[in-house]
């Protein structure tokens, strides 16, 4: 018998998740509420079934996520009896840091990268799962599945530990940590196909609906709350849109789409000619920008 491609990916991810639980003292799963996190969580629940997850979830809340994301997060936690930590960078909140007033670069650094480091330091996590995939972005394509971080959470792309077979090096010193990416080998299509096959719940924002939209810097932004300063030159239009990725709402562009179900998303994806990170403003600040962010400790 030969395993299907998806069955192979599924088993590989479960193996990785169990390996972390076995070898690290205090792991955590970064839960971003997006579709990749949903798949990662689903795989983790399978890995330890019929038992509970042997680690907590962590959500780094920038305070600028879509309202629907937060609602969905709380429902999932309740339904699956999960242990979730929500961390917000209070310093950033005190200084009113936000994507509109401070731009995507500073906002992401303070409310996401710094906040993440704060949380990792506070709870002394020695391993953190992330849902990133290698097909998302070119510098991700080179990252190890078990990706070592020094005590400042920095990634050194030129000095990565060789990773052969499935023999992951989990040895670290105090203060150091490892980021673990169980979905490394999944593509966007694999993720959607798995969501469909397993009937995994996802945030409704992924599905097309009429939403209040403005156009800014070639991105279609949803007016999720009053903090989005709609300018005089801009008009709010109700448009049938959906999101291919989810992040801070003023930084996440919608796409016009009729896809109201997972099936329709997959059909759209097969015919699509744009890759999913296109909707993200933060990747294109400068050439090589994701690689720079990652070196500094971004996921």
């Amino acid at each position: 018998m030969k395993l299907s491609h998806l069955a192979k990916l599924e088993s590989e991810s479960i193996h990785i998740i169990r390996e972390v639980a076995s070898e690290f003292e205090n792991p955590v799963m970064l839960y971003s509420i997006g579709k990749d996190s949903a798949v990662m969580l689903h795989l983790a629940l399978k890995a330890f079934s019929p038992g509970k997850l042997p680690f907590k979830l962590l959500h780094v809340d920038t305070t600028w996520k879509f309202k629907e994301m937060i609602k969905f997060r709380d429902e999932i936690v309740k339904k699956n009896d999960l242990d979730l930590i929500v961390h917000i960078n209070d310093e950033g909140v005190k200084n009113n840091i936000g994507p509109i007033t401070h731009g995507s670069k500073l906002h992401t650094d303070v409310m996401k990268t710094q906040a993440l480091k704060q949380a990792l330091n506070k709870y002394k996590f020695d391993a953190a799962f992330g849902g990133a995939r290698r097909d998302e972005e070119k510098s991700r394509a080179k990252e190890r599945i078990f990706s070592f971080r020094d005590e400042n959470h920095h990634w050194d792309p030129k000095n990565q530990r060789p990773e052969l077979w499935h023999l992951y090096n989990t040895k670290i010193d105090k203060g150091e940590s490892v980021r673990v990416f169980p979905l490394s080998n999944w593509t966007e299509l694999d993720v959607w196909q798995y969501i469909y096959q397993e009937k995994i719940e996802i945030v409704p924002l992924y599905l097309a609906a009429i939403r209040p939209i403005i156009k800014r810097d070639n991105l279609l932004l949803m007016v999720d709350d009053k903090r989005l300063d709609v300018r005089e030159s801009e008009t709010i239009k109700n448009k049938l849109v959906r999101f291919r990725t989810l992040g801070c709402y003023p930084l996440t562009g919608a796409i016009e789409s009729n896809a109201k179900s997972v099936e329709e998303i997959i059909l759209e994806l097969i015919q699509s000619k744009n890759s999913e990170r296109e909707g993200r403003a933060i990747d294109k600040d400068q050439i090589g920008s994701m690689e720079k962010k990652k070196q500094e400790g971004y996921f």
Partner: protein
Amino acid sequence: MDLDKFFQDQNKKKQVKILTCGSVDDGKSTLLGRLLFDSQNIFLDQMNQAKIESEKYGTQGKEIDLALLVDGLQAEREQGITIDVAYRYFETSNCKFIVADTPGHEQYTRNMATGASNSDVAIILIDAQKGVLEQTRRHSFIVSLLGIKHIVVAINKMDLVNYNENVFETIRDEYKELISNFTFTTINFIPLSALKGDNIFSKFENTNWYKGPTLIEALEKTDVLDSSRDNKFSFPVQWVNRSSANFRGYSGTITDGKISTGELITTTSSNKQISVKNIYGPQGELSEAYSGQAITLTLSDELDISRGDIILSTKNDQIMKANQFASHLIWMDQEPMLPERNYIFRFNNSYINGKITDLVHSINVNSFEEVASKKLNLNDIAYCKVAIDKMHGISSYSNNQKLGSFVIIDPYSNKTIGVGMIDHALRRSSNISWHEMSINKKTRSELNSQKPCVVWFTGLSGSGKSTIANILEQKLHTAGKRTYLLDGDNVRHGLNKDLGFTDTDRVENIRRVAEVSKLMVDAGLITLVSFISPFKSERQMAKDLLSSDEFFEIFVSTSLEECEKRDPKGLYKKARAGELKNFTGIDSSYEEPENPDLVLDTNSTNAEELADQIINFLQVNKII
């Protein structure tokens, strides 16, 4: 479009993992860019990004440089070379491909091995203008060493040799000669041009003399390992699932063969045979499961099984317990591998301390010759004997890659510094058993009315180690204690006279002295060891031979400057003049102890008083 049909087709696609290897300018990244581009796995925005970057870094004039689609890291884009392993994904109507794109330079052998470790098929690129190069030989050797059975030899840049059949045939024949000793199952030679896209997805008319498959056809035909071999079931336990009082399951990934409910199994930690009760796969309960699946098993009877153990079919005789084995090794660190040094060995589900006991020979990857050597440098490949601290279930790499492979980790930096592929278990470990003597360490030390131990002096040459040790021994002797002083210089006149001062020999020097001092402790003696012992790993090795209350590390902390000033034997002067090579402190390093039991400062205190400090220390620790 019918979605269910689409998924059925998707699920029928087989997964093939490809390794691409070629030298610097063979056009490897271009080939990969071409595969992604022609299989329509490149999105519009990625294409636009490549266009922008082509203007900045491109090498193809006004054309889009396809290589820029795949060279991910910024440094690579700027230098125009690939420096790490990148993974790429594309699919055709029959297959899903995962590509490990690895660099070709000699200094990146380790990255190539990394990519090869998880691949089913290798594409070996040869530039038609250059033919078989040294790098081609090296790549082929590594691919073979890592056990890849299928290769495609892509003879690239045919457009630059006018698609000349003779050029193709000459290279093919030369390559066949080169690999005559390797055991590849399938070899395809394909003339192509990555730049133009010839013979990649479709046949090209200018090479109508070529009757074989296109590159994609050859890759799609890769025979992915059949995972249901009978009687081969092996299952390293990864995690014990005790989610409730009445559930005890063993989780892990099957590394070989298949298992059915009711089948008899045994483990590497017990000879008992019991049967499989339930199998839980990711999709629920199963009646049988296969290699590659992550499952949880429950068993018919209680058995003490934990992470590190391997559950096996009772008929599987290919997995054996051993603590010594012969293995191929690829060294991956700047710091050389020295035999007898302590390392951590990571196997499928356990970490075990151990060392390389014999470096049988290293292998010249260009000529495939076996060469005698005393240490391994970065990217060296060798055949070695390994000893680990406890018995562990292993397989030969050729039988089971998952249980026949290991990585080596530096116990100090935690870096991955090497990898190995097991050839066979060594029988000597099970044949030589330890003789239990009726007179032992305890009875001897009772007769001597003293507690034996090692007092290990470390410090630079001329720091005062031997002077202090000598006074200490006199004091102990006067007090009626039985002692022995092992002095570096003296031992080098006899037991270790065959050793020089290279790093390799220094490690062996200390290993022998450590073993001798262990015997002396066993004989009931207070053993003083006065050796420079410059490396912390060897001092740790000596310490590990004894129990924690038997070994005391004394650091004579005299500075290099002061030692050089004293220079009692005139050695520093000679070393500075270049007459003495590998002299500690001058052109060979000294690693200071991080947590010595005692630090002696010879600047402020004389040798007599320092000896008294040690006496005091030994009294406090109830040695005397």
